[in-house]
């Protein structure tokens, strides 16, 4: 395994567990137990049961005819937007809450940016009857109102993160502080392939159901189980990790991650980590990180709350660094236009995070190729942002 995690929790130079001692026993407990738990037959059975009966998996692989005609490629969409709660995030929260139950935890905390992971966490907490606290940046609470109310309806407490940029990074800080203060009865459901080992691997494994399904679905329609290109948006990178997973070691498949450039990589309003980041340590892992020359983390910006993060998961840092993956960045306006285009051509309004993945046709030559784009989430939660943007 050249690109997946090694036994020390590293992806190449990236990853590890850079945590204060106050979190050590929790992380160590996870590290020692997660593989034996998730590989147990009874766990797999229950995980698959909920994915099928509750989430609605397998999600369809949909041939996007009009989009394909326009760009001269065969474009398939992996319809994670059709998952219960509207995005891929729930694949991970189902897995982690079952794991938390195995570890005898009774309370759940999580961070959220766009609110999708918060909703997915609040949902599984309701499902399993566990207490749930979600940290969300004050700014994100404003721009993702409907999701905040969804979490509250589901019985979760939403606590605003009021420090720093008051977005995803700060919500993550607050969730970690909460865990430090409550180490014994609480499990922290991290929503992306970030954080200290074993989180990036654990989350990637739960999300890998996406590429696992894709193998069989592509085989049926294309006669081979791999495409030429797999494309996904990357904030922390969980939906990308999920759809890349079974293709990591297959060099025939080009892996493309799409980051948010915000107002542009040459402005100070961007979240394009591979363009603007350097190696650093944040939220427990060594990864690519947007920071100033003194190692202070800089405030990211993107129109989409879910991509508004100054780092990327260590798996992606390694794929980028080793050139196994190609990472492109897309500005706010390009993403919004792509979202409108997908709406008009295929009748699907994507989440703004996801819309980023649809604006790369003029950035990479993919003519006459078989392309799979991870349609990671639907746009219901973003209506206000679409309306405010207004150019449709």
């Amino acid at each position: 395994m050249k690109y997946n995690v090694n036994s020390n929790g590293f992806y190449g130079d990236f990853g590890g567990a850079y945590i204060p001692e106050m979190l050590f026993s929790n992380i160590d407990e996870l590290r020692k137990n997660y593989l034996s738990i998730v590989e147990k037959d009874s766990f797999t059975r229950e995980f698959n049961f909920y994915l099928k009966k509750y989430v609605g998996r397998p999600t369809p692989l949909y041939y996007a005819k009009r989009l394909s005609e326009k760009y001269g490629s065969k474009i398939y969409l992996k319809r994670e937007d059709l998952c219960h709660t509207g995005a891929h995030k729930i694949n991970n929260t189902i897995g982690q809450i079952l794991l938390a139950r195995e570890l005898k935890k009774t309370k759940i905390i999580a961070e959220t940016g766009a609110g999708q992971h918060g909703v997915a966490t609040a949902t599984v907490c309701a499902l399993m009857g566990m207490e749930c606290v979600i940290y969300m940046g004050e700014v994100d609470i404003e721009r993702q109102r409907p999701n905040v109310e969804r979490m509250r309806i589901l019985g979760a407490e939403v606590r605003p993160a009021t420090s720093g940029s008051r977005t995803l990074k700060d919500a993550t800080n607050e969730a970690m502080r909460h865990w430090i203060n409550n180490p014994d009865d609480t499990h922290y459901i991290i929503g992306s392939v970030v954080g200290p080992h074993p989180y990036p691997d654990m989350v990637a494994r739960f999300q890998s159901v996406i590429s696992e399904e894709l193998l069989g679905q592509l085989k049926k329609v294309e006669g081979r189980d791999y495409p030429d290109f797999v494309i996904a948006c990357v904030g922390g990178g969980s939906n990308a990790a999920g759809i890349f997973y079974h293709y990591l070691e297959n060099p025939k498949v080009k892996l493309v991650g799409v980051e948010a450039a915000g107002l542009g990589v040459s402005t100070d309003k961007s979240a394009a980590t591979t363009k603007l980041g350097k190696k650093g340590v944040l939220h427990g892992s060594k990864t690519l990180l947007m920071q100033d020359e003194n190692g202070q983390v800089t405030e990211p910006y993107s129109i989409s709350a879910g991509l508004d993060y100054p780092g990327i998961g260590p798996l992606h840092a390694h794929l980028f660094d080793s050139k196994r993956g190609v990472y492109v960045s897309v500005e706010d306006d390009e993403a919004m236009n792509a979202g409108i285009e997908l709406s008009r051509l295929e009748g699907i309004i994507p989440a703004i995070e996801t819309a980023h993945a649809f604006s790369i046709f003029d950035k990479i030559d993919m003519k006459r190729k078989v392309i799979v784009i991870n349609l990671s989430g639907r746009g219901d939660k973003d209506l206000e942002t679409y309306i405010k943007w207004g150019k449709y």
């Binding site: 850079y18 106050m22 026993s25 502080r177 014994d184 340590v281 427990g284 020359e293 190692g295």
Partner: protein, 256 residues
């Protein structure tokens, strides 16, 4: 023998260590604060290197860190400020902070600057033990610098022994499962933990930090260890207007 070892050899109890964030309240207060603390009879000083995302810290140190960064504090400047500190004080000084700013500065250059300023040690709570052993320990051992680890009520005995054998100076015993700046008096569970640690006969002395805020909690902590660290409460007490008086009053209130 470095200053920390010497301190613990000469003074057997009631060691008072003070943490403050460099660059707070004003950018150039660092040496002045150290000088005043020394005059007040504080035993050890932890100079905080501010970081934008201090996940182990509560609101007070988050705030002082943000102010310090906004004021323009960085490691280059801090080492410049501390360059001639040994002309004014012989008090043990350790640096405390998070990995990322140190990593960006460069581990090697960082250690060189610690030696150049003749500081005594380092607390870097999010540095994994393996990284310490690989990247810092050989030169720390050779130069007789102290690496001060943290332990908490959830740290296993096996790990405490591993930490103890790989460090030198003292062990920072976190009083409870908590971020900094939470005031609490010790309950039976914490006292059990303190007593368990003292029964382990560790190589390094321990001092208690987190939740120490006044004379009462300081003296209580001293019953179970060689001393205690005050951080958040001290930072709250520093007055922008009268540095000298506010610091002296506070230390006096703890020590009297």
């Amino acid at each position: 023998m470095n200053r920390i070892n010497k301190l613990f050899k000469e003074k057997k109890d009631k060691i008072l260590s003070i943490y403050f964030t460099a660059g707070y309240p004003n950018l150039n207060d660092t040496t002045e604060i150290i000088k005043i603390l020394d005059e007040c009879g504080v035993d050890l000083i932890e100079v905080g290197m501010p970081f934008s995302d201090p996940i182990a810290d509560g609101p007070v140190i988050q705030h002082s860190s943000n102010v310090a960064i906004d004021n323009g504090m960085n490691l280059n400047l801090l080492f410049n400020q501390l360059d001639e500190i040994r002309k004014i004080t012989d008090i043990p000084i350790v640096l405390m902070g998070y990995v990322n700013p140190v990593y960006q500065f460069g581990y090697e250059k960082f250690i060189k600057n610690i030696l150049k300023c003749d500081l005594d040690g380092l607390i870097l709570p999010d540095l994994p033990l393996d990284d310490y052993i690989n990247e810092f320990k050989p030169i720390f051992d050779r130069e007789n610098l102290s690496f001060i680890p943290l332990i908490t009520p959830n740290t296993s005995e096996e790990r405490i022994r591993q930490i103890d054998s790989n460090s030198n100076g003292f062990i920072y015993m976190v009083s409870s499962s908590s971020i900094t700046g939470k005031k609490n008096s010790f309950d039976d569970k914490q006292i059990d933990y303190f007593q368990k640690i003292s029964s382990l006969s560790l190589k390094n002395p321990t001092i208690i930090g987190f939740g120490i805020s006044d004379k009462e909690s300081f003296e209580q902590a001293c019953k179970y260890s060689k001393g205690a660290i005050i951080g958040s409460k001290f930072i709250k007490e520093i007055s922008n207007v009268n540095l000298n008086e506010s610091i002296k009053n506070f230390i006096l209130s703890v020590r009297s």
